[in-house]
């Protein structure tokens, strides 16, 4: 099984140096790309089917094509790698950043060339200190080797790259909020339109991509769109870094063909449930996705199939709910997280999320009422996609709405027994 993203990662706490990376064929894609036309690169990435691996699943090539690169269009342009991985349950980008930073850097440079950007940033979350060290060293190596700066590899293309380390807040993972954070402002999101490809960083055309998405780009250029499409199991293209956390035997991270089944991930790779625990449910793509149940275990873990099953692939890192963990408590933990991380700009998120968190807390400590379920249900409609300023609140509603659907009986137990049955 091909594992282009992770096959060279050493797993000993060190990352590939530039020389080591070049030995694996690193930067050959860049050299090839610099001889292509930018539009060709964008088309290749489009044809490969690569979808945004940050959770949104939007076609990366399509996103790049929205930047106007003709001569008299606005400059400078920016490309930014979103390394602000803070989705609860997600830990895949960390692995790539700590293991093979040059792979990401090469992807950024190719992407920059495709959209004719001359400035790039890696927006890294504070907590990933090792990754910060890895990127600092690697960016310098790339400059020294002439892969960054002026006249890259003699092509005439210039690119500056800066590492920006954030100072917290989950909201920064949202691309427009990230732009505001880079501009030194409060990380509130922006309304779209205008899209970042028209008015992004400092009002200039900007593309923001996830670390895993960009890390795929050198391989797509080297091996072609068809190759990438064939890597996946169900035709959406490429591999995926899948993860599992919770009470499974082997929590971990694996690069697998995009589209393997949930069952395969859970049982073959994560080893199934830990001894003494039974499977109750799973959030397939991080904290802001809908629960899936046992009946969904054969669903293919790709974007379309998971959506059809009523959830989202998101980051592809599953959080497993076992039978000895209270589903109400789990949702309470999530809603408290989202309420805390709300930026405070729009009413439903700012006022609605704390209310849901308080209700869930009341249910957990035994003072919940039947009315509370109606109010929770109401909030899942109140904060539906499009009703709020950005996707944080609708994401927060995904675990809640699915828990109300699938674990209603558990909620009702809390109300009728005036306590949490799992915690007494």
């Amino acid at each position: 099984m091909e594992k282009p993203l992770t096959q060279h990662i050493k797993n000993d706490g060190t990352w590939l140096t530039l020389k080591e990376y070049e030995k694996t064929g690193g930067y050959s894609a860049l050299k090839k790309a610099l001889k292509m036309k930018p539009a060709e690169i964008t088309q290749t990435v489009k044809d490969s089917g690569l979808k945004g691996r940050g959770g949104a699943g939007f076609s990366t090539g399509m996103k790049w094509s929205t930047v106007d690169i003709c001569d008299n269009s606005a400059t400078p342009r920016y490309i930014i790698a979103n390394a602000d991985e803070m989705e609860p349950g997600s830990f895949k980008d960390r692995f790539l950043l700590e293991g093979n930073p040059h792979q990401l850097i090469e992807g950024i440079i190719i992407g920059a060339y495709a959209i004719q950007a001359n400035f790039s940033y890696v927006f890294l979350r504070w907590a990933y200190h090792l990754a910060g060290k890895a990127l600092t060293q690697s960016i310098q190596e790339a400059y020294d080797a002439g892969y960054l700066g002026k006249n890259i590899a003699g092509s005439g293309f210039n690119l500056e790259m800066s590492l920006h380390i954030s100072v917290g807040r989950y909201m920064c993972g949202e691309e427009t909020a990230l732009l505001n954070a880079l501009e030194g402002k409060r990380a509130n999101p922006r309304a779209k339109p205008p899209y970042p490809s028209n008015s992004g960083l400092f009002g200039k055309p900007t593309i923001v991509n996830n670390v895993e998405s960009l890390s795929n780009v050198p391989h797509i250029i080297n091996n072609g769109a068809d190759w990438f499409l064939k890597l996946s199991k169900t035709g959406e293209g490429g591999t995926k870094l899948y993860g599992a956390s919770g009470k499974v035997k082997k929590p971990g991270l694996w690069e697998l063909p995009l589209g393997i089944s949930l069952r395969e991930l859970l049982e073959d790779h994560a080893g199934g449930m830990a001894d003494g625990y039974k499977f109750k449910g799973v959030l397939p793509g991080g904290g802001s996705t809908d629960f899936l149940l046992e009946e969904h275990l054969d669903v293919a873990m790709d974007y379309a199939s998971v959506a059809k099953a009523g959830s989202r692939l998101g980051t592809g890192t599953i959080i497993v709910l076992d039978d000895k963990t209270c589903p109400v408590g789990m949702v309470h933990n999530l809603e408290r997280f989202f309420a805390q991380e709300s930026c405070g700009w729009c009413t439903p998120c700012r006022e609605g999320l704390p209310w849901t968190a308080k209700i869930l807390a009341a249910l957990e400590n035994g003072s919940g009422k039947t009315e509370d379920l109606n109010i929770l249900e109401f909030h899942t409609h109140y904060m539906a996609p499009g009703n709020t300023f950005c996707a944080l609140a609708p994401g927060a509603m995904e675990p809640l709405q699915s828990a109300l659907k699938y674990f209603k009986a558990d909620f009702e137990l809390h109300i009728h027994e005036h306590k949490c049955p799992w915690n007494s």
Binding site: A74, R169, R186, R190, A191, P193, P194, N198, S199, F202, G203, A339, Q340, E341, S342, C343, G344, W345, C346, T347, P348, R350, E351, G352, P354, W355, K358, A362, E371, I375, F378, Y382, A384, G386, N387, T388, F389
Partner: protein, 900 residues
């Protein structure tokens, strides 16, 4: 134009707007919080949700925010769809989870936008049963009160304060449901426009602190449409009264003048009307002290003086209405009537009137000024001499950079996206003043220099634009600067030149006209605005050709024996000793004024004049716009409009019918045809809306029967108002009155100032019936105006002498507002400002005490440095008691106090 469908009804609407302003303009009731007609859309509060359909067949649609939804041809939306209603109600419920529901003790109650929107959506049941988040409040100064628990986080306050008004010390802190709106630390809000927070805030977070001292519910206030008298811009206001005291001043919307806003001097400077220093009864000097006399005795006394004495001279006032000034002129005769200002000021204002009159270049209204895209200010600290103009200029500075947003197809109502694309850049903006000014922070280039140098710069710019003018740059600095300024003005679409009379420099006034004329001759759509000293500077100077110095020469044993002074404290305007001597010559000094002052103390007969709140009249602003102001109540004492006293004094003894405002105006325009326009400024007193007068009080006004029950149980008859179509009751026409007669804003379901929407043809635009006021001067196509070619005399300054210039303070330089307690707190202590290089040379440090002679007396003042004065110059704050009566500019020597 675009054809859209709202709940299946077709409408033809402006295709460039968003659906919220469109719906509101159509009279449909859609709730909102964060949108504001002056600040446009950000889409934060989510209150204005509507359903948008893909096409006519789509039955499901999706929820969108009306304020962020562009009008498009064939757009189908629904306001009434149940899902939209449910969402909007739920949104109010969400806001109510933390709102303290303290309406009974909240100042906003009764004119609260949150109340109105809550009722509009129908939310009335609380399901939330947990704790509410609370905040600590901050002391923000004497004007604005802070009560953060009521905040609904609409972000309007910071958007107004920072983005619209350029303020720096109010901001939003923290995050999630803990966001806090306030200062970084407690303290007085620095922006001159902070008072607008009380109208912009939809709840009771920011409220009027002066109103709080004598709080009254909106429905219990008697109101009147009025005009602010605190500077020459003539912003429209609403005065509100109860129990005989003025409670507050609110902004009155005039789409041509001040729009939605006011400056803090205008909003909070009214309290002097309630001062205990008010003159409330006529008085006569008897044996060295004043004794109160009845009004009929006073009138008899003065009529006797007029009839027996040889000559009586009259001193008018730039603070007083046209009607009052005119009747005094009628009383004493035109050759005995003097404009109540010194010659240097009066002559300059006359020049400005001439320039406006010859109409070569348009003088835009305050609102129109916002549309100009390049600005050059000569010799004016606009933030302090005409604050609301500074606010308008901050908007003008956004026009050129906004073109970037337009190029990106961002609609101009999409506020956040526009500002993101613009990145804080400001357009071509040049400030040439005598010292640092607040508008420097948006200036492309500043030039701090002496008045004569500023005039040189102006003429150099004019000379660059019109090469036929033989103006040569005085030095290389001026040459270089003038080239960049002229280039910017020529490149602009609409260049605007601002100057004024503040530095008492004729060359500056001329230079500004020269630049504007030169631009016009080059085919540019140029504008020219002059800032004048007071509310009726134009009006008073149009009625007289002689000034205070001329009057002072009249004082002598064989000259006039009596003098009548209208609303004017001469000690504020002319040298103290000269003024004292002047007044001593007269056998009879009759003063007609509102507050005790040195002039009234040196008079022989005093009549109580009505302030703007107790008088009707017409004033002409700096743009040449005549506007009418109306009194808000009939005082129980003898205070009345000055012109009313004068009609009694000019009336024959046989004629017992009182003369009313319309008749005074009639005789005014007959005598002075140039002022014909003032007749049509407002409807006459005979105007009726369907047989009814316009009530000054809202329908729910309460307590009329009980208010004076302690004195007399019978309900008193409401006072009659023969001078206007307004009545002193709550009974009368319920609806939208003519704009010049609008005393308050209300519409069913809209109790807050947001009701203004209902009074406008299109939200944010012109009022139904037209924006009030009539311009006297319009641009004339065939104007033959000449350039001012005289090159001023060379400036010379003796070694060791300082040129003292006036420094203007929004709080302090206006005589009346400075006597209002809240404003008085902000008035600076007297000081003298020096330029840094000369101070350093003389060994004078910040805070050192220096001695100089003012008004013939030695004065000791602390030194202020670092305000950017040019070499050789010093500055004194104008209008403080210590600097009253000083004619600027003047030369002086200084010495460090104690050094002999």
């Amino acid at each position: 134009m675009a054809k859209i469908f709202i709940d299946d009804k077709p409408y033809e609407v402006d295709g460039s707007k968003n659906m919220l302003e469109t719906s509101l303009s159509l009279g449909l009731n859609l709730p909102y919080f964060c949108w504001h007609p002056a600040m446009h859309s950000v889409g934060a509060c989510r209150q204005c949700a509507i359903i948008k359909y893909k096409d006519a067949d789509d039955k499901k649609g999706k929820l969108v925010m009306a304020c962020m939804e562009p009008v498009a041809d064939n757009l189908h939306i629904s306001i009434e769809a149940p899902e939209a209603h449910a969402f909007r109600t739920g949104n109010i419920e969400a806001l109510m989870t933390n709102h303290p529901h303290d309406c009974p003790v909240c100042d906003e109650g009764g004119e609260c936008h949150l109340q109105d929107m809550t009722v509009m959506t129908g939310h009335n049941q609380r399901r939330y049963c947990y704790n509410k988040r609370t905040h600590n409040n901050q002391y923000l100064g004497p004007f604005v009160n802070h009560e953060m628990n009521r905040c609904i986080q609409c972000y309007r306050c910071v958007r107004f304060y920072k983005d619209y008004a350029g303020g720096k010390d109010l901001d939003v802190f923290a995050s999630h449901n803990d966001v806090y709106f306030g200062r970084q630390e407690e303290g007085v809000l620095e922006s001159e426009f902070s008072g607008n927070l009380v109208e912009v805030c939809p709840t009771g977070v920011f409220t009027d602190k002066t109103l709080k001292k004598h709080y009254t519910r909106k429905w219990d206030l008697t109101n009147a449409p009025s005009v602010c008298h605190q500077c020459s811009l003539g912003c429209n206001i609403i005065t509100s009264e109860r129990y005989g005291t003025i409670r507050r001043v609110l902004s009155r919307y005039n789409g041509d003048v001040n729009g939605y806003f006011l400056c803090d001097r205008g909003r909070f400077g009214y309290e002097y009307v309630n001062s205990k220093n008010r003159i409330i009864t006529p008085a006569k000097l008897l044996n060295g002290s004043f004794a109160a006399i009845t009004s009929s005795d006073a009138v008899q006394e003065i009529k006797a003086i007029i009839n027996t004495e040889n000559t009586i001279i009259g001193i008018g006032s730039p603070k007083a209405s046209l009607e009052s000034n005119f009747l005094l002129r009628q009383l004493v005769g035109a050759k005995n009537f003097y404009a109540g200002v010194p010659a240097n000021e009066g002559k300059l204002i006359k020049q400005v009137i001439g320039i406006l009159n010859n109409g070569k270049v348009k003088t835009p209204s305050l609102n129109e000024a916002k549309a100009y895209d390049a600005v050059f200010i000569l010799g004016e600290d606009v933030t302090n001499t005409a604050p609301m103009l500074a606010l308008a200029l901050r908007q003008a500075a956004k026009n050129e950079p906004n073109e970037v947003a337009q190029a990106l197809k961002i609609p101009d109502w999409n506020d956040a996206a526009t500002r993101e694309a613009v990145q804080g850049r400001t357009g071509p903006f040049f400030v040439a003043t005598a010292h640092d000014s607040k508008l420097d922070d948006i200036a492309t280039q500043t030039y701090h220099a002496r008045p004569d140098q500023i005039a040189f710069l102006g003429n150099a710019v004019a000379g660059n634009i019109n090469k036929q003018l033989a103006f040569v740059a005085a030095d290389t600095e001026i040459e270089k600067l003038s080239l960049s300024i002229s280039a910017a003005l020529l490149a602009a679409k609409k260049p605007l030149i601002i100057a004024g009379t503040s530095l008492y420099n004729e060359a500056i006034v001329h230079a500004a006209a020269n630049i504007a004329y030169a631009l016009k001759d080059q085919g540019k759509d140029a504008g020219l605005i002059y800032i004048l000293p007071e509310a009726n500077s134009i009006g008073s100077v149009m009625l007289a050709d002689q000034y205070l110095e001329d009057a002072y020469q009249q004082a002598g044993p064989d000259e006039a024996k009596s003098i009548f002074i209208l609303e004017n404290d001469l000690y504020q305007r002319m040298d103290k000793k000269n003024t004292y001597d002047f007044l001593q010559y007269f056998k009879n000094v009759i003063t007609l004024d509102y507050l005790e002052n040195d002039t009234t103390r040196n008079s022989t007969v005093i009549l109580p004049a009505g302030t703007f709140a107790e008088a009707d009249g017409t004033v002409i602003n700096n743009e040449g716009r005549a506007q009418r102001f109306y009194q808000v109540h009939v005082p129980e004492n003898d205070v009345r409009s000055s012109w009313k006293w004068l009609t009694e004094l000019t009336a024959d003894n046989n004629n017992s019918t009182a003369i009313h405002l319309d008749e005074v105006i009639d005789s005014l325009v007959t005598a002075i045809p140039a002022l014909r326009a003032i007749q049509s400024v407002a409807p006459s007193a005979g105007f009726r809306e369907d047989t009814q007068k316009i009530p000054r009080s809202p329908q729910r006004y309460s307590g009329r029967t009980a208010m004076h029950a302690a004195e007399n149980v019978s309900e008193p008859r409401p006072p009659a108002d023969p001078d206007s179509a307004l009545s002193y009751t709550m009974e009368g026409y319920v609806g939208i009155p003519p704009p010049a007669l609008t005393p308050f804003y209300w519409s069913p379901g809209w109790n807050s100032v947001q009701a203004i929407n209902k009074y406008q043809i299109e939200v944010g635009g012109e009022l139904h019936g037209g924006n009030p006021g009539k311009r006297l001067f319009e641009p004339a196509e065939n104007s033959k105006a000449d350039y001012f070619k005289t090159i001023p005399a060379a400036f010379s300054q003796k070694e060791g002498e300082w040129l003292v210039l006036p420094l203007y303070h929004i709080f302090g330089s206006d005589e009346l507002s400075a006597q209002s307690p809240a404003v008085a707190e902000r008035v600076p202590q007297p000081y003298i400002a020096l330029n840094n290089p000369d101070a350093l040379k003389a060994g004078i440090e910040e805070g050192a005490i220096v001695e100089l002679v003012l008004n013939g007396q030695k004065k000791w003042l602390p030194v202020k440095l670092n305000i950017g004065l040019p070499k050789g110059a010093a500055g004194l704050p104008k209008g403080l008691q210590e600097t009253a009566g000083i004619l600027f500019p003047f030369f002086t020597t200084l010495k460090i106090a104690g050094n002999d």
